[in-house]
Point group: C2
Chain length 455, copies 2
Amino acid sequence: MNAYRTYLDGNQDRYLDELLDFLRIPSISALPERAEDVARAGQWVAQRLSSAGAENVEVLPTGGHPVVYGDWLHAEGKPTILVYGHFDVQPVDPVELWTHPPFEPTVVDGRVYARGASDDKGNMLAPILAVEALLRSGGAAPVNLKFCFEGQEEIGSPQIPEFMPAHVERFASDLAVSADGGQFSETEPLLLMSLRGICGVQIDVHGASTDLHSGLHGGRIQNPIHALTQILGSLRRADGTVAVEGFYDDVAALTEVERAAIARVPFDRDEYLCEVGLDEEFGEPGYTNRERGWVRPTLEMNGIWGGFQEDGIKTVLPNAAHAKITCRLVADQDPERIIGLLEEHVAQHAPPGVRVEVNPLSIRGRPYSIAADHWGNRAAAAVLTEFYGREPYQTRSGGSIPITGVFLEQLGIDTIGFGFGIEDENYHAPDEFFRLASFRKSQRAYVRLLEELGK
Amino acid sequence: MNAYRTYLDGNQDRYLDELLDFLRIPSISALPERAEDVARAGQWVAQRLSSAGAENVEVLPTGGHPVVYGDWLHAEGKPTILVYGHFDVQPVDPVELWTHPPFEPTVVDGRVYARGASDDKGNMLAPILAVEALLRSGGAAPVNLKFCFEGQEEIGSPQIPEFMPAHVERFASDLAVSADGGQFSETEPLLLMSLRGICGVQIDVHGASTDLHSGLHGGRIQNPIHALTQILGSLRRADGTVAVEGFYDDVAALTEVERAAIARVPFDRDEYLCEVGLDEEFGEPGYTNRERGWVRPTLEMNGIWGGFQEDGIKTVLPNAAHAKITCRLVADQDPERIIGLLEEHVAQHAPPGVRVEVNPLSIRGRPYSIAADHWGNRAAAAVLTEFYGREPYQTRSGGSIPITGVFLEQLGIDTIGFGFGIEDENYHAPDEFFRLASFRKSQRAYVRLLEELGK
């Protein structure tokens, strides 16, 4: 057995304890009151990187949540690999739907349940542990390594585009490997060909100066909730297509080759509906469910609120109503242009009698794609085939990792996905979990990936 | 000076202290956790009625918030007047918009600020104090009196229709006088000709079994917020008219005489817009602002909520969205029929891919009207003319007092309005207040009204 395997096997109990420690930090980047916890998670990562043997470890300020850097640059003549992951997590509401408290990680039947278990703390820890095993057991890694762990992925990395230009030399590498990703199932691997981009707005509708009595004022002035529902209703057609003028203008048409590659990836419609607890799917006519989720743009309402929301009755005519909306984008849509189109659309559809504001959300990411035969993907495919006994599917993701666009534009490097989450692990939802088998497998797979990339 | 006036003048300091005590009880009928406070307010009223000289005082259970009864039946040969008011109040949110805490009554510049100051604690206390002055100063009232004070007006008196049939004999009277109402201004009185009815529903849209990642699932399944906005958008047209089929079927056409009487009541559009803080009014085409608010039915959204509602960003595809809606009804609309129409409309407009429920709210009231020359109104007009030096306007209210329909149907009696609130007093809104001048005037006016009704 290789020395690194002996090392990994001998340290699994400690590694699990460390993962649980990491998961106890409520590093929710979306909530301003959790900023200190995000910073604490960054310190935790920096310390862990150092103890794994990384050098020049630093917590870098960004103006928002920090970035953690570290390197190991002693593999002369070998490529430099930039390992990426994020230590921030999604909010936890509705918290009452969690079986266990989201920041009290609980191991049940070979799964660890906690917010961030799969997305992305469990996954981002794996390359650190792999590198520790290589350095502690053999004294060297097969490639040069740089690490970039961020604390703002879940809010769309708002400061990263301005942060990176000042650190281009520090992060200069030949390829990024993202530990924020997954495999197709417990027995089937994947290569990730594309990610959707993202942007969003909050719509704020303001009416009277205070809430009013709906009997005394109802029928006489505009109702902000009604105005908001009219605006929101105008954004999408009944069939699910986006009705914002110009929204689809820059969407690259799907080729038959692309559609065929997507169709080769297994999809069980009934299993999917069972997983989400619905009787029917819903989406843009003319596309398969996979296409809708992977290569078609969306406009989704993430939240809405206004007026009386408690049990009981309050006959109020509210003075404001609000909604948060995000769009997922595909090549070649541009986040800034889409925000502009949303602003124009809302301005044109705002009903009389209220004041309507459109405030762009800080989240912003370009769509990203990479070729299946890229040298990084060839290395990943070799390792995955070795571990799973079959070739990976060529899949895509409907999610967004905005930093991939930043790596491409500012460092000139591509990003391959190499993570071990599985889609049923409730990312962004109650009862998020990570399979401990994936946690263990990912550590060995990362060693092998670095070896392949060093060939 | 009459003995009752001397008595009233000598007790104003105590009466104000008592009003402040009454206002300190947070008797919010809409909030289940305030049920004990509503009961406490009922006990307070019962005690105050007794100390005023009322007999047979009882707090009557209804299955919900209680009703307080009392009587004084020693005016042989005179009519029996049923004095009505309510001791429950509206919720206080958004509580951050209040200048003073809503249940810490504060007197500033001749006004008492508190939730319920005008609607209806200040107003309902007046007839009790008037009767005390009559009984304590002269030993007798000019009519027989019964009192009916309820604790569920602000939630639409849900138990009253079932409560009243068992108490028809107890409450049997010749006329009801409602202390839940107001005057046109500080210097202009009014007679109330009609009230709108009310009914409502909560719409609950259910999607996936949990909140989902909007990147992984967006575009593939229906979004409950989107479905809800489609439903809500279908309920009203862009011009503000209600689009629910059959909604206007039973609305009695306005006669030219009625429109002329409404037009005679002064209305300053600019002053109204300034009061509510808006640049423009909005409502059903073909009707004046007064008509829209008084004699046309409405459908208003009182509250909406779903998904992520905090600061920041959460890219969630929520699994549910909710809205509360109430309709104000005019003759001859029937609350039950309107609820049925709403249910049918929503069933027909529910988008695919979600489960939609329509749950009727417990609030239910028929529209009510009374003739200007009714004997009760003639007595009220005489007293008001005496106090204000001018005849009252014949006005209407867009609000609802469901118990008036119950008095008519089950006791066979009409209800006249005799209250002293003024429309700028922020009923149902932050910074509700009552003018202390109105509080004092109302006590004397009630004495005079009872004298007139006894003639």
